[in-house]
């Protein structure tokens, strides 16, 4: 039975997540990407777009891009499947957004007698849900490539499909060790078990983190795995025939996936909203001078802030990877996925199993 406070709480949480991802991170990532590339190439980067004389270190260039793209011609090529051509960008964006539903961005707090858990949906099978949703994104890409009636689009889409499916297998396997360790598929439970700093995923599962991040970047088709949109070979890959707002939707999907990947990494490996050596109840006790409600609210804000800081650091890490490495050749991408990451993750599962059996790894 859903009560009114529950409903209000859920709506607020959904609004917060949408605001955080689309409203905050999408433009900010666009800006970071631009500015970081400029800094890494010893350039200055966009700094001319100004509102009332303020440039905010080039942040308004993201705004200018958005305005221009909204008012750009909306183009459907001749011979394209019009309906599918319109639908594809939506199918790409939505999975990246709804994957966020199971990711906890804070702990449990008691506000004015109402138990508030900072996750939209606490599913028992959160990890599986994320993977299921992530594989839906493939449809957007494949439909975009097929509906465009363009050779490059189709080739890009086929590459993307092959690459995303291959890396999904490996990505799923890299997480198995973690699931064995925490004995749960619920992301909320996994975060709760990381209250003890010595049980953080990164400490016991560092190889899995490296493998997972590699697979996740490949799944997101970012450099060095951007063969589906390789400019020198495929013009712009599966979104060659998209202009204006539909084109920016593919970009947004890419940016949102960066956020989702980072959020998943934070949740699985970096303890979500947890601060090292500080428990949630300890934090609330420490803030006790604010009164019970004030202490809970302050602890909630601190938890969310810690989560966002970790998220941002991981996003920056992904950006640095993107601007550091050159693109793999297509066969190298496949070889890396099937011949290296997949066996490595299988070996890691074996090692974790042995570790748990012999008691080298602590029981959590």
């Amino acid at each position: 039975m859903i009560t009114l406070p529950d409903l209000v709480e859920t709506v607020v949480k959904i609004a917060f997540i949408l605001g955080l991802t689309i409203g905050f991170y999408a433009p900010i990532i666009g800006w970071i990407e631009r500015k970081q590339s400029a800094v890494m190439q010893d350039r200055i980067g966009g700094n001319r777009a100004a509102i009332l004389g303020f440039t905010v270190i080039g942040l308004f260039h993201s705004l200018a891009d958005a305005i221009k793209l909204i008012f750009k011609e909306d183009f459907v090529p001749r011979g394209a499947e019009t309906a599918l051509h319109r639908l594809a960008p939506v199918i790409s964006v939505v999975p990246a957004l709804i994957a966020f539903a199971v990711i906890p961005f804070g702990g449990t707090y008691n506000l004015w007698g109402h138990e508030t858990r900072l996750v939209i949906a606490d599913l028992d099978v959160g990890v599986l849900y994320v993977f299921a949703i992530a594989s839906l994104a493939t449809y957007g890409v494949v439909i975009a490539g097929w509906a465009s009636n363009n050779n490059w689009s189709l080739l890009g889409a086929l590459r993307a499909a092959a690459q995303m499916f291959s890396y999904e297998v490996a990505m799923g396997l890299t997480i198995i060790g973690l699931v064995m360790f925490y004995q749960s598929l619920s992301l909320v439970e996994i975060v709760d078990k990381q209250e003890n700093f010595y049980h953080w995923g990164i400490i016991w599962h560092f190889p899995a983190f490296i493998l997972f991040l590699t697979c996740a970047i490949a799944e997101n088709k970012r450099i060095p795995f951007d063969t589906p949109e390789a400019e020198s070979e495929l013009v712009a890959g599966y979104f060659t025939e998209y202009s204006g707002m539909k084109f920016i939707m593919f970009w947004t999907a890419e940016f949102l996936e960066i956020v989702t990947i980072s959020a998943l990494c934070v949740t699985l490996f970096f303890g979500g909203h947890q601060i090292p050596f500080v428990t949630v109840s300890g934090l609330i006790d420490f803030l006790g001078f604010l009164g019970p409600n004030g202490a809970n609210a302050a602890a909630m804000l601190i938890g969310v802030a810690v989560f966002i800081i970790k998220l941002t650091l991981l996003i920056m890490l992904q950006m640095s990877i993107r601007w550091t490495l050159p693109r793999f050749r297509y066969d190298q991408v496949m070889k890396l996925g099937w011949k290296m990451i997949l066996p490595a993750s299988l070996i890691w599962i074996f090692l974790v199993g042995a570790g748990i059996l012999t008691g080298v790894m602590p029981a959590v």
């Binding site: 308004f60 200018a64 891009d65 221009k68 750009k72 459907v76 998209y242």
Partner: protein, 181 residues
């Protein structure tokens, strides 16, 4: 006051207080700082283009950094280098494939007038093929000149009426790869 049928007239009557005018301004502001380039590079001017894009001169400062190799996503067609008659149909095709609004930047003496190639093989100025918005002569033009040209183009973009600006297809050749609506 009578019926306002023409938007130009409406603008004059309603002055700056109405949202249409303001929308035009906002769009102009956005377009001015967000040129996605289509680098159509065929010859030696390309070296100088690299310099413009590189750290020293950094065209990204003006918001014109991102190259899109799909004409559908590009705004500014940078024609850099000699255009021979063999190359001309490709240039026209790329121009036709670009989505509105679009601008053309003639980069270097070759694109402006054919340059030193005053012969049967070279197009004597790309404005015989497609409408050009800004000419930057020089063989090759210095990066400062290119940046100056870009700033001038930005000023021009601000002055244009933004919301119903259509350039259409090139006056030469066939437009078989684009539905004109």
């Amino acid at each position: 006051m009578g019926v306002i049928d023409d938007s130009e007239q409406a603008e004059a009557v309603l002055s700056d207080s109405v949202i249409i005018t303001q929308l035009d301004k906002v769009v102009a502001w956005g377009r001015q700082y967000s040129f996605f380039l289509y680098p159509f590079i065929t010859a030696c001017c390309g070296m100088e283009f690299m310099s413009v894009a590189g750290p020293r001169y950094d065209i990204d400062r003006f918001g014109a950094a991102l190259p899109r190799f799909s004409p559908r996503q590009a705004d500014l067609l940078m024609v850099v280098g000699t255009i021979s008659h063999k190359q001309a149909p490709i240039l026209v095709k790329v121009f036709n494939q670009m989505t509105e609004p679009k601008w053309v930047f003639a980069y270097g003496a070759c694109t402006v007038s054919g340059g030193m190639y005053d012969n049967y093989a070279t197009v004597q100025g790309i404005d015989t093929l497609i409408p050009v918005d800004i000419y930057v002569p020089g063989c090759p033009p210095r990066p400062e000149m290119v940046l100056d040209g870009l700033i001038k183009l930005q000023e021009q973009v601000v002055k244009e009426r933004q919301t119903n600006r259509v350039k259409g297809i090139a006056p030469v050749g066939e437009a078989d790869d684009r539905i004109v609506t």
